[in-house]
């Protein structure tokens, strides 16, 4: 483990912590613009986090220690995910700790914690949110795995760093399978991050919410951590998507300068991504919860198609 | 029958044929008392046949056999049966035989089967009465058929005893009799069997008020 790598790792983590709320703010702003509303400030999420951290925690009377532990665990999981996903450079000492499969596991772990926490207080909305979150989870996971399989077949690896290196640096080949995989990944990302059309991060209408229903009982620093973790998740998914499908510009090992150069590129890519996300959220309506299986089923089918295209066209040819 | 057959063999065959005839007669007999009489007559003919064999072959134990048969089958058993019938007040019992002609027809088929089965054995026989084995088998089968068609206890037992007659005919005619020990044992068994049956008849009548075995169809699974 080189010193450079270590610094790069710390830098990546710090960048994630800083950029994640910003990305959320950016998406909100874009959306407001697209919807002809006056936009909140770009830094609004920071203000909110700060405010929440300052506030007292109001706990429900029968909240258990698990309820208080969960936000930290979720936050930790997301942080780990961000630390592993190469945003600027593939030279991350933590990267071997988890490959893409394990990364799916990390998100799963976070999901379990937040669902359990949702059930802990014992309100009607909590458990409703919990079960819907798990529903989305088990629908999204096979699709995500198929996407990963397609990529892993191309790069002969499940390690994110290796995938990125293969796609970005080794050769320039057009993989039609990646197109399918990319669309599937987008679908999954929307679902996983509680975005329209599966969920709506802005809603508090009881019967439609998923993510928000789960965190209704949270307040103060706990809520802050959860919101931050949600931003981190969006950031992690965005970076993952960028790294997998638009890996150009991510620095290789032992190349600190390239890493510095990668930072603006990342900002630009994230900016475009945020815009696109806002656009998707604007042109789509939230669907009923039981339409989600169809949506994610489509994602799964696309991913399998990608896999088959990979096996049929690219391997045989 | 050709001329080469000795007189004794002709006699034995005659006796055997009579036994078979009697078996048919028993098959068709509806009433109890005549049935027992027929059975006694069969025993008598059997004893006669055994005596002829004994005279022809000069085997001492066959004389004993003939005597034993006479005593047991022609006299003692019919007597016991008579007594039973009287004591049990079933003298006037009439068996409702279904379709006697059909039964007789089946009987004839059975005789054909028996002769057919016994034929290869008869050909091997060196005794004077080679043909009787088939008749003995036929008698056994007719007795069997009789047991199947009867619904009263006593006729069924008579059928059972008639079967023993057929067996005995086989034993004497085909093999000149079994060893004495065995024959005595068989005779004892038959006797004890009849006595036990007699006891049984009373028990059955006490329980069922009848010797009609169609009452005894309660133990079943189907």
């Amino acid at each position: 483990m080189s010193v450079g790598g270590f610094l790069g790792q710390l830098f990546a983590i710090a960048l994630a912590l800083v950029l994640a709320p910003l990305l959320t703010g950016w998406v909100n702003q874009c959306r407001a613009w697209l919807q002809n509303r006056s936009a909140p400030p770009l830094l609004q999420p920071y203000y909110m986090l700060h405010k929440l951290f300052r506030k007292d925690v109001v706990l429900a009377r029968n909240a258990s220690p698990l309820f208080r532990f969960a936000p930290f665990a979720v936050f930790g999981c997301m942080l780990l995910a961000c630390a592993i996903i190469p945003s600027l450079s593939t030279d991350l000492p933590l990267a071997p700790a988890a490959d893409t499969l394990a990364l799916v596991g990390v998100f799963g772990l976070a999901r379990i914690f937040i669902s359990l926490a949702a059930m802990d207080v014992g309100t009607a909305f909590g458990s409703l949110g919990g079960r819907r979150e798990m529903l989305v989870g088990f629908l999204a996971e096979p699709a995500l795995l198929m996407v990963i399989f397609t990529l892993a077949l191309i790069s002969q690896s499940t390690s994110v760093a290796t995938i990125v290196e293969t796609l970005a640096h080794r050769e320039i080949v057009i993989y039609p399978s990646l197109a399918f995989a990319g669309i599937a990944f987008t679908f999954v990302s929307l679902a996983e991050n509680a975005r329209v059309p599966v969920d709506n991060p802005a809603t508090h209408l009881e019967l439609t919410m998923i993510h928000e229903a789960m965190i209704l009982e949270y307040s103060g620093r706990h809520l802050a951590l959860i919101e931050w973790a949600a931003s981190l998740k969006l950031y992690a998914y965005s970076c993952l998507g960028l790294a997998l499908f638009f890996p150009w510009g991510i620095a290789e090992r032992d190349n600190f300068l390239a890493m510095i150069a990668a930072a603006p590129l990342l900002l630009i890519k994230l900016g475009i991504g945020g815009c696109l996300l806002a656009a998707i959220e604007t042109v789509n309506a939230k669907m009923r919860i039981f339409r989600a299986p169809e949506f994610l089923g489509t994602a799964f089918l696309l991913a399998v198609l990608g896999l088959l295209v990979r096996l049929l066209l690219e391997v045989r040819a | 029958m050709n001329a080469g057959v000795p007189l004794s063999a002709q006699l034995i065959n005659l006796f055997a044929a009579v036994i078979l005839l009697l078996a048919f007669a028993m098959l068709a007999q509806r009433r109890v008392m005549p049935l027992i009489n027929l059975f006694g007559l069969q025993g008598l003919v059997l004893a006669g046949s055994t005596l002829v064999v004994a005279v022809t072959t000069h085997q001492a134990h066959l004389y004993w056999s003939a005597g034993l048969t006479l005593l047991l089958k022609a006299m003692l058993l019919p007597w016991i049966l008579h007594r039973l019938v009287r004591k049990l007040y079933v003298k006037w019992d009439v068996e409702s035989l279904v379709n006697v002609p059909a039964t007789m027809l089946i009987g004839i088929v059975l005789v054909i089967v028996a002769f057919n089965v016994a034929q290869p054995i008869s050909l091997l026989s060196h005794t004077i009465s080679r043909g009787t084995l088939g008749i003995a088998l036929a008698t056994v089968m007719l007795a069997f058929l009789m047991m199947i068609t009867r619904t009263k206890a006593i006729p069924q037992v008579v059928g059972f005893l008639a079967m023993e007659n057929g067996l005995f005919l086989a034993a004497t005619s085909a093999t000149y009799g079994m060893p004495m020990v065995v024959e005595l044992g068989i005779a004892l068994d038959v006797l004890v069997g009849v006595i036990i049956l007699g006891v049984f008849f009373f028990q059955i009548r006490d329980q069922f008020d009848s010797l009609d075995i169609s009452h005894m169809e309660h133990l079943k699974d189907g």
Partner: protein, 669 residues
């Protein structure tokens, strides 16, 4: 003592277990002595078994021939590495379960404790003997004794009709399975009459008979393991048994079936055909999906776990299938990868499923309630059990950094190589099967969240739950032991794989250990570091560190104040435990999405009902597809056959007569 081999130690342990059991029979009503004296003794022996097996791993096989058995076929025993892996599992799992049982069995509950002690230890002995057996007779004897002793344990509380019929179903299917196994052995001897395993190995079976043997073994061992469609006993028997027994059955006994399947398909039957693997994989996928879907909709906590066991067995069958496929194409390294996944999952499942079953035992003891609809909020009353169960469900959901994830990860890695199969269909279909695995894993998460959330979290659904008490010290000890195993299996995969390597090398001639060792004990990289890697320890440390650091920082920078208040619930006024999801409600999405999979009887409230209620009852399709028709057929046949015994003596005489005539005509020259 140096002359004693490992196999001798295991034999002695088996005898000791039996002796402990018989000792219990000497004082059948002395609960205190049996619980606090004999069960810990059994645990100690279990530890001995585990350590012996651990110590043995990697050595060459040892054999023994006992005086008992048939005159022509005395008991042959053999300790090899495959056996050792499963003996390790048996030994270490039994330690935790026995310690737990010491606290679990109390005065005045169910059967005489002495009898239970005998049955329990006979069960342990027979499982050990199953693993050691090296001929068909010894195997069958041990196998059936295992079934029998566990049957008696299942029916401990035989006053309930449901438990009796569960026991009956269990023993019946076990027996049918045993018949299939016996047939498989018979086929494998291929007429040589040599029923030792060595004799079977020596046979070169033609493909048809080899396939027959494999399929019979799959049915036979599948019946014990709970593969669809012979799984129906499992969700009945596991809930019926006392919890330590459920734990033992689910955690260990099911694995003996996996052991048997491995023994037959990789060791005894010779070179496998590729389609065997496809069959095993297909059955496994169906089983896994079926198991997990049914697990999610259960309302009885032990049934939920039982179905989850079915799911895990399905995963194991998938792994075996994959290993068979690779093995049949000569891709031994990849077969070793799949095999390692299988063995690892056996260990992992033994740990976490035993743990979870024991947790239900504690809950059952504390609340006398098995129905999820009447539990809730127990984390407040039973913190020990709740927190240890949390470890169990995370492992059970197949999530990092615990044990269940490692095996699933290995399995998926193996799947990633399946496009390289030299077969035009397989290399396309098999990768897609991995998606089913992913679905199963995610659904398992759903089931586990339901299990944990409904039992331990939320508000107490019944007022009586307020009196629930936490597990006693013995129970805590047992639970902690299993938790420790789960943790260790989770964070030290390389070390464990190094141990399992001896078994894979024995079965496939190659293993993963060399590559795994290269990358250090903290890292799992079975193929190469570039290809895939996983470091659970760093994983764990990072999460723990970020939790602690985060907490410290937040308090440092801001504050740690907390106020307690009513739950907000979006300002909703309707409070109380009835507002929460019921167990049925929680699984409503699953029932809705996978509706055709379930056989449901639902009652919906209507506006005109005086007492409106909603109920849903989920039944197993296989009852109506397979079991009931078979039962009806048997009924019909026997209905025809019993007409033979119609009660009429004349008819009986006619049978006799006709038999005679027919035979005479046959015999006539």
């Amino acid at each position: 003592m140096s002359s004693l081999l490992a196999i001798d130690f295991l034999l002695i342990a088996a005898c000791l277990w039996l002796a402990v059991g018989l000792w219990g029979l000497a004082a059948p009503r002395n609960t205190r002595f049996i619980a606090k004296g004999l069960f810990p003794l059994g645990a100690l022996i279990g530890l001995g078994v585990g350590v012996t097996a651990l110590d043995f791993l990697g050595q060459s096989a040892e054999t023994a021939i006992l005086v008992i058995g048939l005159p022509t076929l005395p008991f042959h025993l053999r300790l090899d590495n495959l056996t050792a892996v499963f003996a390790l599992l048996l030994g270490f799992a039994s330690v935790g379960i026995s310690i737990y049982a010491a606290g679990y069995f109390r005065k005045g509950e169910g059967a005489a404790p002495g009898l239970m002690c005998l049955q329990y230890h006979a069960f342990l002995t027979s499982m050990l003997m199953v693993l050691l057996a090296d001929d068909a007779y010894a195997f069958m004897v041990a196998w059936e004794v295992m079934a029998l002793s566990s049957f008696f344990l299942v029916t401990t509380d035989h006053r309930h009709e449901a438990i009796r019929s569960a026991g009956y179903l269990y023993l019946l299917i076990a027996h049918v399975g045993a018949i299939a196994i016996l047939l498989a052995f018979g086929v494998m001897t291929s007429g040589s009459g040599d029923y030792t395993f060595a004799g079977m190995r020596a046979q070169e079976l033609p493909p048809f008979w080899a396939s027959a043997a494999f399929l019979l073994a799959l049915v036979g061992f599948g019946a014990k393991a709970g593969l669809v469609p012979v799984h129906v006993w499992l969700p009945e028997a596991h809930p019926a048994a006392p919890s330590p027994v459920s734990a033992m059955m689910s955690g260990v006994m099911l694995k003996t079936a996996i052991y048997g399947l491995l023994r037959v398909s990789f060791d005894l039957v010779g070179t496998p055909l590729w389609w065997w693997g496809v069959v095993a994989m297909a059955v496994g996928l169906v089983t896994a999906l079926f198991g997990v879907l049914y697990a999610t909709v259960q309302s009885d906590m032990k049934r939920l776990l039982a179905y989850s066991s079915i799911e895990n067995i399905g995963l194991l069958a998938v792994g075996i299938g994959l290993a068979l496929i690779f093995h049949s194409f000569g891709m031994e390294t990849l077969a070793a990868l799949a095999m390692t996944a299988v063995l690892y999952h056996c260990l992992a499942h033994a740990g976490f499923k035993s743990l979870l079953f024991l947790c239900t035992g504690s809950v059952l003891h504390a609340t006398r309630e098995r129905s999820l609809g009447k539990l809730g909020g127990l984390i407040h009353r039973m913190p020990w059990v709740a927190w240890l169960a949390l470890v169990g469900i995370i492992a059970g959901a197949g999530l990092p950094p615990l044990s269940g994830f490692v095996s699933e990860w290995l399995l998926l890695q193996a799947f990633l190589f399946s496009p390289g199969l030299p077969h035009s269909w397989l290399n396309m279909v098999v990768p897609v099967a991995a998606a089913v695995i992913a679905l199963v894993a995610a659904l398992a998460g759903f089931a586990m969240v339901k299990f944990y959330g409904i039992i331990f979290l939320g508000q107490m659904r019944e007022p009586a739950l307020k009196d629930a008490h936490d597990a006693g010290p013995w129970e805590r000890g047992g639970l902690s032991w299993l938790t420790l195993l789960t943790l260790l299996l989770g964070v030290m995969p390389s070390t464990v794989i190094g141990l399992l390597d001896a078994a894979t090398r024995q079965l496939l001639g190659t293993g993963l250990a060399a590559r795994v060792r290269e990358s250090g004990w903290w890292m799992l990289a079975p193929i190469s570091e570039d290809r895939a890697s996983y470091q659970p320890l760093i994983f764990l440390v990072t999460i723990v560190a970020s939790v602690l650091l985060g907490r410290w920082l937040v308090r440092r920078l801001y504050h740690g104040r907390i106020r307690r208040s009513r739950a907000w619930d979006c300002g909703f006024f309707f409070e109380g435990p009835r507002a929460q999801d019921t167990a049925e409600g929680f699984s409503q999405p699953i029932r809705r999405i996978f509706e055709p999979v379930f056989r449901m009887a639902r009652h919906f409230p209507t506006a005109r009902d005086d007492q409106p209620y909603y109920s849903v009852k989920v039944e197993d399709h296989f009852w109506h597809w397979l079991y009931l028709p078979v039962a009806r057929l048997a009924e019909r046949i026997s209905g025809l056959i019993v007409r033979v015994q119609g009660g009429r003596i004349a008819v009986y005489l006619m049978y006799s007569f006709l038999t005679l005539i027919v035979l005479l005509l046959v015999a006539r020259p």
